[in-house]
């Protein structure tokens, strides 16, 4: 009746996961209880859960990503403390639990923390920058988000019911085959990632179409802000490689569920084929994460230097260059496979070449600052910390791209330090910069500057104190994923690394305090103008927070840096452009289809994990029935009356007039 599921799936004998999950469940119940008691459900359902507004969906993505970032960070704290404690000692985490933790850490950080945060910012910013009212497929966008949330939920359910994979964040066969991993851990991984992967693929399709087909009048390709270019490149990569992930995981599922022989070490199966396929997805995935971060930095460097982005066209070229070459380097993840000198050389060279595109970008950012009036606000600090950190991470990467050198440090702590160096220094710093930068546009008030700066400095210092020792340990021969360590000489460096984690924790606390303080003091941090950073692209032409239709009248772009031109013209002539004729706007209606789909995806996924076949069949049938019902809907859009549009836009115009007056007085004073 219930497949493999029984009471023994609940880890009553393991205190750490048990206590964690009890605390988690109580927290969730508490939140749900609060929402019920306060009667917030109708509001949440109407305004958020069924929302197809790209800004709302973007915010929900960021919220999901932030919560998962904390979960993944908790795993990291456990790993570092276990290694520091388990030098010639057992430590506090038994091996089977420790293996689950490092697998969950990688899975959660990449799929459920970094990806949602990146896609969240993409969602929030791209239509605003392109001067349009929504993405190409708003309802599909909601489905994408809820599928991602469904995957995240399944990963976290594994904490309480059953177990998670012990195979690392990429379940290499034959270890991940049913013979060697008979439990449900790998199945949790497979279905969680599969479900969220479908969501990500749909996001990619949505954003390729949005950037290529949904731009306001005059927004030609070479007038698009840099961030939109990076979103396009990342989305193209998603469309090109996420199907590979889907196919690879489907093959592994067939092996595990039906005894197929894609990757087994019997009957002619080929485990190395899995490694090739998964990295043909996995390496471009790194660029899917980091390219939008590059876009964020490009916006920030130009805004906070008060200059146009240096070498805009070379930046576009470098982005597309990285987009293409990203798919030609995957084999450098397994030089030790033994593909032969010629193959390794080719991939070593392609890997080194991709650094050229990144180098172009770094120089462009530095030259953007050169001769500018640099303002060291929080987003700019993250960006400067990024240049310093990422350049070093990039250089250790080029070192790893040399096959003979790679043979020495393959799968060592050096590698661990390298990819944290580029992902934390590149992606995470970029996300924090972007969140700080666009927060006022989302909520109407800025984040507290002092706490933001504290968070930055603790994160930067903490990062280096944590990972610099790991570089050295790797060179000394320490391999990754060790549950215990037998070499006494490594103790000081492992302890130092743990101190670094402590500093990072202080940084994380600063972020939370920043959020709380900012909310409490939102009235003095209020952004009344809609343009808190003296921005240059169209999102700053809207009030903060932006109305749900973004633009009362679709902008007509005259040149590069759309909003900067409008602003200059207004300051020069000391008046806004004449009030336009307001017309009614057509907006997509909300839809519960995303939530519905994700609900049945979760049920089906859970049923497949525990092999409850009738439930899986029921889930799929319900999903199909749901699609038919939703496809029967006749009303897709509603009209916003012209008076409502005019009311919102007149408020914006009066705020702008006040800003203009202030700028005029400043101009007169200087």
């Amino acid at each position: 009746m219930f497949g493999k599921l029984s009471w023994s799936a609940i880890p009553l004998d393991q205190p750490i996961p048990l206590i964690t999950s009890v605390v988690l469940i109580l927290t969730i119940l508490g939140v749900l209880g609060l929402v019920t008691a306060k009667g917030w459900w109708p509001y949440l359902w109407r305004e958020w859960i069924t929302s197809v507004d790209h800004k709302r969906i973007g915010i929900m993505y960021c919220l999901l990503g932030s919560v998962m970032l904390i979960r993944g960070f908790a795993d990291a704290i456990m790993m570092r403390s276990q290694q520091a404690l388990a030098i010639n000692a057992p430590g506090y985490l038994p091996p089977e639990h420790y293996n689950q933790i490092f697998s969950a850490h990688g899975t959660i950080m990449i799929f459920f923390a970094a990806m949602p945060l990146v896609i969240g910012l993409m969602n929030f910013v791209t239509p605003l920058q392109l001067g349009v009212r929504d993405v190409a497929f708003p309802t599909l966008n909601s489905v994408s988000f809820w599928l991602t949330a469904s995957g995240a939920l399944l990963v976290n359910v594994s904490l309480f019911i059953g177990e998670f994979a012990r195979t690392g964040w990429l379940p290499y066969p034959p270890l991940s085959e049913a013979t060697y991993s008979p439990g449900v851990g790998v199945d949790y991984y497979l279905w969680a990632v599969q479900i969220s992967g479908v969501g990500t693929l749909m996001t990619g399709i949505n954003f390729v179409t949005t950037v290529l087909k949904m731009r306001c009048p005059g927004m030609t390709y070479l007038r698009m802000p840099m961030f939109c270019w990076t979103v396009l490149a990342a989305s193209l990569l998603i469309v090109a490689v996420f199907p590979i992930l889907t196919a690879t995981l489907a093959m592994l599922s067939l092996d595990r569920y039906f005894g197929f022989h894609y990757f087994t070490n019997t009957a002619g199966g080929n485990p190395m084929m899995f490694v090739n396929l998964i990295w043909a997805w996995g390496h471009p995935e790194v660029y899917i994460l980091v390219l939008p971060a590059f876009g964020i930095f490009s916006e920030i460097f130009s805004t906070f230097s008060g200059k146009p982005l240096f070498g805009y066209r070379s930046m576009v070229a470098a982005t597309l260059f990285i987009c293409i070459v990203a798919m030609m380097v995957w084999l450098h993840h397994f030089f030790t496979m033994g593909a032969g000198a010629a193959v390794n050389t080719a991939f070593g060279i392609s890997t080194s070449i991709i650094a050229v595109g990144t180098g172009v970008k770094i120089y462009n950012w530095i030259f953007t600052m050169y001769g500018g009036r640099v303002r060291f606000s929080v987003p700019m600090l993250w960006s400067l910390g990024f240049i310093f950190t990422f350049v070093i991470g990039g250089m250790t990467g080029v070192l790893l791209a040399v096959p003979p050198a790679d043979f020495l440090v393959h799968n060592s702590m050096f590698l661990v330090a390298h990819f944290h160096n580029v992902i934390v220094g590149g992606v995470v710093f970029g996300l924090f910069a972007g969140i700080d930068y666009w927060f006022p546009k989302a909520f109407g008030f800025r984040l507290h500057e002092g706490w933001g700066k504290a968070a930055f400095w603790f994160a930067l210092v903490g990062f280096w104190v944590t990972f610099a020792p790991l570089y050295i340990l790797g060179l000394q021969g320490m391999t990754r994923r060790l549950q215990h360590v037998n070499i006494e000489e490594w103790r000081p460096l492992l302890d130092l690394s743990l101190v670094g984690v402590g500093i990072l924790i202080v940084g994380a606390v600063c972020q939370v305090v920043m959020l709380v303080v900012s909310i409490l003091r939102r009235d003095e941090l209020r952004d009344v103008t809609g343009d808190p950073w003296d921005g240059r692209s169209l999102e700053w032409a809207t009030p903060s927070p932006a109305p749900f239709f973004n633009f009362a009248v679709m902008p007509n772009v005259q040149g590069e840096e759309a909003y900067w031109d409008i602003k200059l013209r207004a300051v020069e002539s000391q008046q806004l452009s004449p009030e336009p004729r307001y017309e009614p706007i057509e907006m997509p209606v909300n839809s519960p289809v995303g939530f519905y789909t994700a609900f049945f995806a979760t049920v089906t996924g859970f049923a497949l994990i525990w092999q409850i076949w009738w439930l899986a069949g029921l889930g799929l049938a319900a999903a199909f029935a749901g699609f038919v019902v939703f496809a029967w809907r006749d009303v897709h859009e509603f009209h916003v009356p012209a008076e409502e549009v005019a009311r919102v836009d007149r408020a914006r115009r009066s705020a702008r007039e006040a800003l203009l007056e202030r700028l005029g007085q400043q101009g007169a004073a200087t």
Binding site: P217, V239, F242, F258, F260, H261, A267, G268, A631, D634
Partner: protein, 231 residues
């Protein structure tokens, strides 16, 4: 369906209805921007263009997924583990019949869309039904093939080659099955709602999907079946 000898004006109207944005009839440069096509400086594209474009992108991603299964088949083709070889698996007469059914269904699918463009509900439904029946025949023949192979002990569990074979062919069969469910849903929708804007958009997407599956089958027919019997 016969539009021979129509007056030129009717012909032009039909063209405009089929291709309102003159896609494929002009350059992409900024010299000749067309309102609603999403090119250059003219603002967002119309819904029909956006939907079709997005679906093309989805099809590309689906083809990438098939490419992985093709690659896996190519890698595992020789790994027969002492079991059946490609020669033992292929039965060309049945596969020929399958191919004929699927190719013919693509033709009738195209006819159904011509009928949609002419706004003929009857002929749209007739050709969609024929398409669906041909698709059903294809899936039925494939199932029969799988069952008769299994009866001879030829199952995916036997060897990596057979895993690759059943995986690739089965994935295509699954696609055709799902497309058939979509087709049935579309027939019901057209019947109830007529040629509303969004229904026509969905018919465009369905047509694209059906033809794409046909193209993938040509790949499978060549690489799995024909190359399986040629030494």
């Amino acid at each position: 369906m016969s539009d021979l000898g129509l007056p030129a004006a009717v012909e032009t109207l039909r063209r405009v209805r089929e291709d309102p944005h003159r896609l494929g009839h002009r350059g992409h440069g900024p010299d000749s921007p067309v309102e609603g096509a999403g090119h250059g400086a003219t603002g967002p594209a119309r819904k029909r263009i956006v939907v079709g474009y997005g679906f093309w992108i989805f099809l590309l991603s689906d083809i990438v997924m098939f490419a992985c299964f093709f690659a896996a088949f190519a890698v595992l083709r020789g790994a027969t583990a002492g079991g059946p070889t490609p020669r033992d698996v292929v039965e060309l007469p049945r596969v020929g019949l399958e191919t004929a059914a699927l190719l013919l269904s693509s033709y009738t699918c195209g006819l159904s869309f011509a009928a949609t463009n002419a706004r003929s509900l009857l002929w749209t439904q007739v050709f969609l039904l024929v398409t669906g029946l041909l698709g059903l025949a294809f899936v039925g023949l494939e199932l029969q093939e799988f069952i008769s192979l299994a009866a001879r002990g030829i199952t995916p569990q036997r060897s990596a080659f057979l895993t690759g074979f059943f995986g690739l062919v089965g994935l295509h069969g699954l696609h055709v099955t799902v497309a058939g469910m979509w087709l049935a849903t579309m027939m019901a929708q057209v019947q109830v709602k007529g040629f509303r804007r969004e229904i026509v958009h969905r018919l465009i997407c369905f047509n694209l999907f059906w033809h794409a599956l046909d193209i993938v089958w040509i790949g499978i027919f060549t690489i799995v079946y024909l190359m399986g019997v040629t030494p």
